[in-house]
């Protein structure tokens, strides 16, 4: 495999690892290295000195074509999620900007799309392939969990631990009146 072909796959691997890393942790504090790693992966995948050989050249070309509508779609989706009344009140500016970007994404896609019967066949087959891979993964996770030995029952909290938990709860619930 040529180094340029390896670069494409390495970049894609780093991107997926970065995205997965970003998804860890609570929603309000994601992993700090996730997004930088994903962006580094995209840079490794798309910026290169020489054109990669077949079949990686087709992968890069198709990704670049899709980026024309995928980038506004991703940015628009993020803004809509920020602006929509999911956790807080509606934020009109991000919401409207997000919808504008989503409209742009659909317009871009409409201008480059070329739907044929073979594409539909390919899409359905791809969905079936993904389903199979995810089903195997789910089955493997279930097997791994079943093979994990059960931990013994946890001991009840000691008096010292009870006092500590109580103090934490008091601090977080801001109870002013002492018993």
């Amino acid at each position: 495999m040529s180094p340029w072909a390896a670069q494409v796959w390495l970049g894609m691997a780093i991107t997926i690892i970065g995205i997965s890393m970003h998804r860890t942790g609570p929603a309000f504090r994601r992993h700090p290295f996730g997004i930088p790693l994903a962006l580094l992966g995209l840079a490794v995948m798309l910026f290169r000195v020489e054109k990669p050989p077949h079949p990686e050249s087709e992968v890069v070309a198709a990704t670049m074509d899709a980026a024309m509508w995928l980038l506004p779609a991703l940015a628009g989706s993020t803004l809509v999620l920020i602006g929509a009344p999911l956790y807080w009140r509606t934020r009109l500016l991000p919401l409207l900007a997000g919808w504008a970007l989503i409209v742009v994404a659909w317009y871009q896609y409409y201008s480059i799309m070329n739907v044929a019967l073979s594409d539909a066949l390919r899409g359905v087959s791809a969905l079936l392939g993904m389903t199979l891979a995810l089903a195997v993964f789910a089955l493997c996770v279930r097997t791994a969990e079943r093979m994990t030995p059960q931990e013994p029952e946890t001991e009840p909290l000691s008096e010292k631990e009870k006092k500590y938990v109580e103090s934490v709860l008091r601090r977080h619930l801001e109870v002013a009146d002492e018993p």
Partner: protein, 118 residues
């Protein structure tokens, strides 16, 4: 073989292999002391090798590293074909989320009334 059938099997094998590769990479990206990734990784690897073998058999090439690259490339191209369908579903969900009215919650109201909160 019928070219449409060949196309369908290629897309099936490619997307199965690529999804399994993503599973392996996701397991690496989220590794923590409580993970038991050995069996899922083994399962995903088996799917990748079986898909590569199927693809190589359909296309009529030896099942080697070139077949693996071709399978993965086919997977990327097939995945790019179905992303618009996922985006269409997401657009409908975003529309629902944008038009919904946030349910009144006394705890959230209390939180919002605190100084410094949005």
């Amino acid at each position: 073989m019928n070219p449409n059938l060949e196309l369908a099997i290629s897309a099936f094998a490619g997307s199965a292999a690529l999804t399994s590769l993503f599973v392996i990479l996701a397991l690496i990206g989220t590794l923590n002391p409580y993970h038991r990734p050995a069996i899922p990784m083994l399962g995903a690897s088996i799917v990748i090798f079986a898909s590569t073998y199927l693809f190589a058999h359909i296309v009529g090439i030896p099942a080697n590293s070139i077949a693996l690259r071709l399978t993965m490339s086919e997977g990327v191209l097939a995945l790019l074909d179905i992303i618009p369908i996922a985006f269409l579903l997401c657009t409908f969900m975003f529309l629902q989320a944008s038009l919904r009215k946030r349910p009144e919650d006394p705890l959230l109201a209390l939180l919002e009334s605190e100084p410094g909160s949005e």
